[in-house]
Symmetry: C2
Subunit: 351 residues, 2 copies
């Protein structure tokens, strides 16, 4: 894996102090061309791609592609461990990774609020470029709109991604079987708590940084090792508990996990206790589960642990025959509870 | 071309009167699943595509693909001749068409403001499905975020699109040559004026409907007829004048057009006079220019005129050798003027 970028970004281009986004930056005239030339173009790949006015023509050596999109509205825009730009890259790369695809190309659509500081936009776009470099994807096409002050919230970004699917597995909740093992690549809850702490100005013991990271490499390692992956799922909004519930509802099978095998770091545990949150429902941006046949589980775990984003990987549970339609968990003191789907959410605008 | 959908849409699904979007609809829990199941899923293609949790795996029979994205923030959401949903489909289909690509797959990311009426969202999503059907593209993947009331403006949509490129032309402003002819497929200014009239509550003589329409069919007709297209450009933000200026700035060649060959309907002319707007700078969503070698111009015009979206097609000007770097126009009374790029925009949030 290329080293993840630092997010303390200097701003190399000259820009007048306090310059702000104006409605006219979205109007298709000179000011928009200037914005594109000075802020966006440097972040787009200008290599040998045929970048058109409004689209890119791209080579593709595969007859199966993966396609995904996500909108990002995280508040605040910057948080420990990342910002809306890095999320917009990693989040979409991760959705492609969860299809078992190798991510290749990204698009980015910006909705900017009039009055947003140009320097904020610059920092976001620059970290998008660095994040894209870190996971070897190319930002190839984009768009910008500006909305009136009070009709947006600084910066919203929607990225879409294209990847190629080289394996012949059917990675899907419907592919899981009773007896399959469930692996988790690391500790839970850091992204959601980092955002919450930043938003509310809370200081917890021990710095909590978002776990935001690109998951395509660990997934490709599993595929390259011949692991027969049945299902992949990243643990974003709603966290682990919601992901498991979705898999249960699609597959029709039950799932059982053991709390003591699910890593949660002490600062996150402490913060969750204070805030009345359950880390199993808190959003992550660099965590995923892999569901594999029991025979492949040990080897898959070894493969995961060879990657920096899987060092703490653990086997957290298994798929059970269809019975109750529930996700159940044996908790730390040995009793069982049901992990239900929440009605709404614990934390809004987490990504 | 399949008939364009009607936009007076009934709402067949039962929904409680006055139901509104809540923050919890974006939270990854039961309410979000319900929103997806009742509003979005019916609009996504449920055919034989491998739709995953967060992405779609798609077949593709080409080694060259076109990829594009656009965000839509049009205000108001509904206007004569369409709404934000139809724009989000046609606009992205048109960006693919301008690469000479056959549009295949679309993604849609929704940013919803808390408190938006569910029925409004339903009508928008339903018209997206109808618009996608009308241009034979499939909406294959999507995402929804909800932002706090006062941090958005009802509905923002970002679509991305994938198309296949089957021709071997290099359709690009750099491919144009002195002597090339410039063709326009229809009259200018109807989209911008329709939005403006709706927004400001103005009533002009003669109903002005948006020209929003998918342009992939007329472009494919030109390609199938063997027309050696040098450049294509849709005339959205900034209108015809801005598009021509962009082509001049990329190609380094001059462009000259004749005003009397550029169709503008009477109601648009009248509205522009009252509002102090120049129709050459007003946005369109179903108009494009095609730049072709002089030898192909007559045939290209004939081909365009066989399609409903090209019935009024005309030859409006030509590419000139590099000299001033200007777009010039002979106006109705025979004098020449420079068509400069506007600094900002005439009308904000037009798409």
């Amino acid at each position: 894996m290329k080293p993840l970028p630092e997010f303390s970004i200097s701003c190399p281009l000259p820009i007048s102090d306090g310059e702000r986004i104006l409605l006219a930056h979205g109007g298709g005239g000179k000011m928009m061309q200037q914005l594109i030339a000075t802020v966006f173009r440097p972040a787009l790949d200008g290599g040998n791609l045929e970048v058109q006015h409004d689209g890119a023509v791209l080579p593709l050596e595969s007859s199966r592609l993966a396609f995904t999109t996500d909108s990002y509205v995280v508040h605040p825009l910057f948080f420990p461990g990342g910002n809306i730009g890095t999320l917009a890259i990693y989040g979409t790369v991760n959705d492609l990774a969860m299809c078992g695809a190798v991510p290749l190309y990204l698009s980015a659509g910006f909705i900017l609020e009039e009055g947003t500081e140009m320097d904020v936009l610059r920092r976001v776009v620059e970290s998008m470029r660095q994040a894209a470099d870190a996971c070897s994807v190319q930002l190839v096409t984009g768009d910008t709109k500006v909305v009136d002050k009070g009709k947006g919230d600084g910066i919203f970004i929607t990225t879409a991604g294209i990847g190629v699917v080289k394996h012949s597995l059917k990675i899907h909740p419907k592919s899981i079987r009773a007896g399959d093992k469930i692996l988790l690549n690391g500790d839970l809850g850091r992204h959601g708590i980092a955002i919450m702490a930043q938003r509310e100005g809370l200081a917890f013991e021990g710095a909590i940084e978002s776990d935001a990271a690109p998951l395509s490499e660990p997934v490709q390692k599993l595929l390259n090792a011949g692991i027969r992956i049945h299902c992949l799922r990243d643990l974003t909004r709603g966290g682990l508990a919601s992901a498991l519930n979705e898999i249960v509802s699609v597959s029709g099978l039950d799932i059982h996990v053991r709390e003591k095998t699910i890593p949660v770091c002490e600062p996150v545990k402490g913060a969750c206790e204070i805030l009345g949150l359950d880390p199993l429902y808190v959003a992550n941006e660099g965590r995923f589960i892999t569901i594999v046949p029991a025979e492949d589980a040990d080897r898959a775990l070894s493969v995961l642990r060879t990657h920096p984003l899987g060092r703490e990987a653990s086997l957290i549970g298994e798929v059970k025959p269809a019975s109750t339609g529930w996700v159940t968990m044996t908790n730390a003191i040995g009793t069982n509870r049901i992990l239900d789907l929440l009605s709404g959410e614990q934390l809004p605008r987490i990504c």
